[in-house]
Symmetry: C2
Subunit: 321 residues, 2 copies
């Protein structure tokens, strides 16, 4: 890399799209955003976004050279540079993101999904520096995941490898409906919403008192449950325990399939720390073949939650170009 080179990281979200100029060490020199939701036409969105990026760059990063654009988006497909059937964005069907972006620039444009971007971000700037085989799991409203094998993102035949949130937990016995149309998907249990659904079922099954019984389903969220658990509420603690054990069980399969050095947990729910990490670790170890036991670390992400999406997206440029 020449000195003074920057990568532009772009995180396309349902409400806002955020961008940043990032150096090789992960320092964000300038940033900005536009409202995704204001652009029903995709071509318009890209035009305005590109202009905004150049304007910000001219103002704050004079004399520095852009090396390329890394874009993280839900259902982003690196093989084709497209966004495919994303439920949360204004544009339906298959959106040719990379092609439209290239109307404005000849520089490299790399598209991938947000969780894959987070995985590369962890490798370039975070706790996975120097690791060749690891997994990053983002725990937010849903469960996203990116797998790195032998130093490279695992994409598979059609670009959709590294999916964990929609693997099934109990196909024949779970009534828990998922947004994808299936039942019993892992993210219906392991995510901020999954934790809440589990807690509400515990409230129904248990006869123990709990400060959480006064909240409606709508009012409850993972923060309220976390605070209650921290204060020792046994049902809130049980909800974290169950959530962690379910994740650990499925991670045992991830370990058997891809044999990573570490699994990073990232996102709001991961802030619960050992309350979640301990049952994850215990259940994973119980369900693994002995050759893997004690050899796979469960770690918190070292990326700053607030900047991680832009950092992860920008890291695609350093890892690919």
């Amino acid at each position: 890399m020449a000195p003074g080179e920057l990568a532009v990281g772009i995180d396309i979200g349902g409400t806002n799209s955020v961008f940043g100029f990032v150096d090789r060490k992960g320092k964000i020199l300038a940033s900005g955003s536009i409202r995704t939701a204001s652009f029903p036409r995709f071509e318009n969105f890209v035009s305005v976004l590109y202009k905004e990026i150049i304007k910000t760059g001219n103002k704050s990063c004079k004399g520095l050279k852009i090396r390329g654009f890394g874009i993280g988006a839900p259902m982003g497909n690196i093989n084709k540079g497209t966004i495919e059937h994303s439920a949360g964005l204004p544009w339906k069907g298959i959106v040719p993101l990379s092609d439209v972006f290239h109307r404005h620039t000849d520089l490299p444009v790399i598209v991938t999904n947000d969780a894959n971007a987070a995985a590369v971000g962890e490798m370039i700037y975070g706790g996975a520096k120097g690791m060749k085989n690891f997994v990053v799991i983002t725990l937010g409203t849903g469960l996203g995941s990116g797998f790195v094998a032998d130093g490279r993102l695992l994409y598979g035949h059609t670009g959709f490898a590294g999916e964990l949130g929609h693997t099934s937990l109990k196909p024949e016995s779970s009534d828990r409906e998922c947004g994808c149309g299936k039942k019993g998907c892992l993210e219906t249990y392991v995510s901020a919403t999954g934790l809440k659904r589990t807690l509400v079922k515990i409230l129904a099954d248990s006869m123990k008192p709990s400060r959480l019984r006064k909240y409606s389903f709508e009012e409850l969220d993972s923060k309220i449950i976390y605070e209650a658990a921290r204060k020792g509420d046994p049902l809130a603690l049980l909800a974290f325990e169950k959530t962690g054990r379910i994740l650990g069980y499925k991670l045992a399969d991830v370990v058997a399939h891809t044999n990573p050095e570490a699994i990073f947990l990232f996102g709001g729910l991961a802030r619960a720390g050992e309350m979640l990490f301990r049952p994850v670790r215990e259940s994973m170890e119980e369900n693994m073949l002995s050759i893997y036991r004690g050899k796979v670390k469960i770690l918190g992400s070292k990326l700053n939650l607030q900047n991680a999406a832009v950092l992860g997206a920008s890291s695609l440029v350093w890892s690919t170009c």
Copy 2:
């Protein structure tokens, strides 16, 4: 590759170890074997095996050049060139296979487990030619598996990626004991022995007549069950149905994790064909996210069952050296 070059493929098994001189097209020009079980000392085993290989080569492959040695062995670890804690071989602990082999030759020696070797064999000589992302599953007494991602075997951090047989099916509700010490491992359901265990439980649950009720547990084997199923025995058919559905359910996770183009089924049980393949396919499709549906082929191996182990082992030489 220079014309006239050969790879030596070696398959180390608990009873016999078989070797063959194989050309780039998968033709076996000469072969031989020694009794693994006769060699309590590992160094002796390698000495005798190597001499036998050279003797066979001098006799049948004059003027041809050996390019390298590919060795498939249970618990073979490519990272270290070792066999680690294999239950079925005479040598305990960690066996430095590659190092000891190199006392006899300076040519490349590549060690991996037998299922990984089968996967590379399928890529070099079989039905996976030209595929970059696929999975091979060997269904024998147990269930072995090898994953190929982006044209290369998936090894992971400690060399044990691509494991499927010891992923858990129902950790809290299965009583089915596995040789590994866990309960509910996939291979306790999906293998020749798994099929038999399932059939025997069906005999106990069902009140339907079946020609299989006259066999003891010891007498029953997958061939008897296969023959009964072919003749329309409803309980034998149900055993295949259940076995296939369980495999399909776990394959949905493999697809989500690694997004392969095809999954090859190989080994004795795979000869049952559609009796097994149909429920595998149906259950896999039901449990997959829509983005994968209809896009992953379930195929029979194109390797000859009898030669496959040696072919697979030899293929490591062409794919690596």
